[in-house]
Amino acid sequence: MAHSDDLTRRMLLKGAAGASALAGLGMPAIVKAQSDVIRIGHLTPVTGFLGPLGEFAQMGVKLAAEEINAAGGVLGRKVELVIEDSVNPQTASAKAERLIERDKVAMIIGEISSASALAIGQVANRTKTVFINTGANSDALRGASCNPFMFHIEAANSMMVTAVGTYLKTENMIKGKKWYSLTADYAFGHDLFRVAKKFVTENGGEFIGEELVPTDATDFSPYLLKIRQAQPDIVASNLAGNQITNFIKQYAEYGLQFPITGFGFDTAVAWGAGKGNFSGIWPLIWHHMVGTPSSKKFVEAFTKKYGKPPENQSWGDYNSLKIVAQSFNEMKAADPQKLAEHLRKGAKFDILKGREGYFRAYDNQMVQEMYAVRAKDSDKMKDQWDIYDPLGSVPGPNEDLEALAPPKDGICKMQA
């Protein structure tokens, strides 16, 4: 049996290169276009390490479109979604342009990666098209990189930190405690660690270890041994996406007993960990146990459609489309040019929480309540979705909602 002669070791190296390229490929989802509809672009990663969250985002926005159309659409016109996988910043930018210029979408909803959100935000600003960011947390997007057409229903990192930090303080987990943190080694993680460290040290805690973890790390054992060596009081995660799943699974495997907390979190990564692995106190922008009437209705409709409760990422994309529909109805015109102005006027929206939220004009951040949850013992779980108990919401009922929002430090300068 003859083999071609040019088969060399180089092939194997090419193989290794191909293997890494494989991680970056995506699949486009096409929803075809029709006239006399209001077209909305949805752009979020559904492949790669944020893919699990992206899938929940798509479920949320599709449910919102269905509900809006069932209720008569927007100003008598049906909402039509054009859904795409944003893959990475370069692709996100190219696809945002295509959505706006070729598909003529009225606005864009989506994104989870802070780097891709920045890219889409720049396209939005240049084309004067509204982009509502539903999943990117970096404070820089609300600071130095802010622009009048990029809105954030997703919380900034500093909001996540303050939300969970408030509960950590009442649990006596900060003052005089030794902290050890693992941080995702990219823009989001660095930004999150920066605000988390500020909060912890300002409240009397001390970091005895701060490790950066590459996003492609799947084995955490060397880190766990270092944590065991350092004997901290608290272990904090600033990890992202699938990293958190791997980390909490292996933390349980090594049987480490130091209490865990985290400053960034998504329910899906803990749902995906499995029984007996999840522990600690974590912040959330919303969870499916929030008991307001509109929240219950959303959870019910979502569970009926998809057979599982909505994740916090579904919340963002569902509400964003509802907000856009409501705004167009209030403006009595589906006018993309005026949408940004309208949103910034401080209109209040039911975002399935105890108190209504609004975009503040300073940085286009949605000002809103936040939540914290505590992991349940596995023998108390009713089903695979029942993994934590709500700790409550911040700010408290009598506090100003803006107490939680990033400081108005003047870094964000909106061009008129």
Binding site: M1, A2, H3, S4, D6, L7, R9, M11, L12, L13, K14, G15, A16, G18, A19, L22, A23, M27, V46, T47, G48, F49, G51, P52, G54, E55, D185, E211, L212, P214, D216, A217, T218, D219, S221, P222, Y223, L225, K226, R228, Q229, N242, T245, N246, K249, Q250, A252, E253, Y254, G255, A268, V269, W271, G272, A273, G274, K275, G276, E311, Q384
Partner: protein, 291 residues
Amino acid sequence: MAFVFLLEQVLNGLLVGAYYLLIALGLSLIFSLGGIVNLSHGAFYAVGAYLAVTLTSRIGFAGAFVASPLLVALLGVVIERLLFRRFYRSDPILSLLLTFGLAMIIEQSLRIIFGAAPLPFSIPTALRGQVFLGSFIYPRYRLIIFGVALTAVIATWFLVYRTAFGRVVRAGVQNPDMVGALGISLQPYMTAVAALGIGLAGLAGVLLAPISGVHPAMGAEILTAAFVVVVIGGLGSFWGVIAAAALVGVVRGLTIYFFPPAGEASMYLLMALVLLLRPRGLLGERIQKFE
């Protein structure tokens, strides 16, 4: 004291090396015999993990541990018969493209069937817990993985170096035409080796599912590391792959001990270094058809 922690990282690195080895061994086998650069190897690892999750709820973890690798090996037979077989003689770039596409199809199928979110899966209660040796800590489950990996390696070694089957396979690696001239058809051997290699990927999937996220892209995540191990070890070298897996595990552990941000990069630096000093890899043999 610092030395003890360093030693602990080295020993832990060996454990981690065991599961790099499980994946890399199959990759190396398939490449050595058929010249197929199997980019879908990680996808078969993912299939193994998904089978483990699906089967465990029906027949328990022990059942899934046996059944999943066998089912993945069976899938390997089908893939070899239908696809790989047509590409042994063609330009290797074609098999590269084939397996690249196959990997995407498998990953996307998993996404369509099971969703993109990770599936919950834990270590069975009986296998949980840690073993303490002096000041060292070893999760019981990781020792089990090590044991299984060791058994798989010894069994593979026995098969390749101590049986009639292995003699034909080794002859096929060195000189397929001569094997044919002796009246032995290599085809069934090719099928068996592909099944074995892909089955090993499935076994790794079952073993790692309880301690890593079970999601569609898990195969792509681990594939690059497996390639690095094969390249460092040297082609056609059984012991080379073993040495490389241990080396990568240890070097990664030590890098994380001293400079964590370079943890994953360390294996690529190691690969570059080995290729510069010894282009054939650590223990790579001179194989006629690859020169």
